[in-house]
Symmetry: C2
Subunit: 133 residues, 2 copies
DNA sequence: CTGCATCCTGGGCGATACTG
DNA sequence: CAGTATCGCCCAGGATGCAG
């Protein structure tokens, strides 16, 4: 029951560094918090978009939430906002280079999620044939 | 404003794969949902722990939440629960090999979080000397 | 010690209507 | 078209107490 490190593919060795690690994770999660930000980032990873386009393409999001999230993300330097002064006015959002560094992270989340879904499906099948009668 | 992919270090090319990508991310986030799971995983990445040890080491968590989260994680095959029939009874939790695959993902979250914190600090300093008078 | 039931509060988020 | 204001629901999660 000791603090033997085994099979752990990372380099956390003591309580202090463990706490720092956790704090760092929370820094990221704070930035990504809420129901929508990751989706928005994924979408914008696809290319710059206007407000109304995002509204359409992110299924289910309301206008209030979208502007709130975008404002938030702009403050966190994740997104660049550009006003196009035409008729009528339009606003374009795009990922900052900084935020683009998040994409690989999000990709790794996606990769694990894909495997996880398969695993759950397997498990389900398994259970169904364990109790067949 | 087209769907030009540029500077994007990942391979999402069309709407269908983009949607799948997003769904996969949500699969992962569902598993990690709530205020505590990532922290618990990080801690257990450190070595197996008893219930009461986790309760002490994860600052701020309540008993209710801890058992709820652990049960949840057990169902998702993230954690292995072992009852030690001694006096008094104790229960040991440890990461499954499956969950250990999540550690690199969490590490990448931490890595970005560390950089982000530095970036925010820089930005703050910047602003303070932009409006010094 | 481990873990569940109950009660309760805050705030995340949706719906709608309104302004520039 | 972009964004704000108001209202209110709902549920994650905190506190406490009980059970095995």
């Amino acid at each position: 029951m000791e603090n033997k490190i085994e099979n752990i593919p990372c380099e956390r060795q003591d309580h202090a560094s463990c706490d720092k690690h956790i704090a760092a994770v929370h820094d990221t999660m704070d930035v990504l918090h809420g129901k929508w930000k990751i989706t928005i980032i994924s979408l914008l990873g696809f290319g710059k978009r206007r407000y109304s386009e995002i509204l359409k393409e992110v299924k289910g999001i309301s206008g209030k939430m979208l502007s709130r999230e975008l404002k938030d993300m702009e403050m966190n330097l994740l997104v660049k906002r550009t006003v196009i002064s035409e008729q009528p006015i339009s606003v374009v959002y795009e990922l900052t280079d900084y935020c683009i560094e998040l994409l690989p992270v999000i990709n790794s989340l996606a990769a694990w999620g894909t495997r996880h879904r398969q695993c759950i499906v397997e498990q389900f099948k398994q259970e169904r044939q364990d109790i067949p009668a």
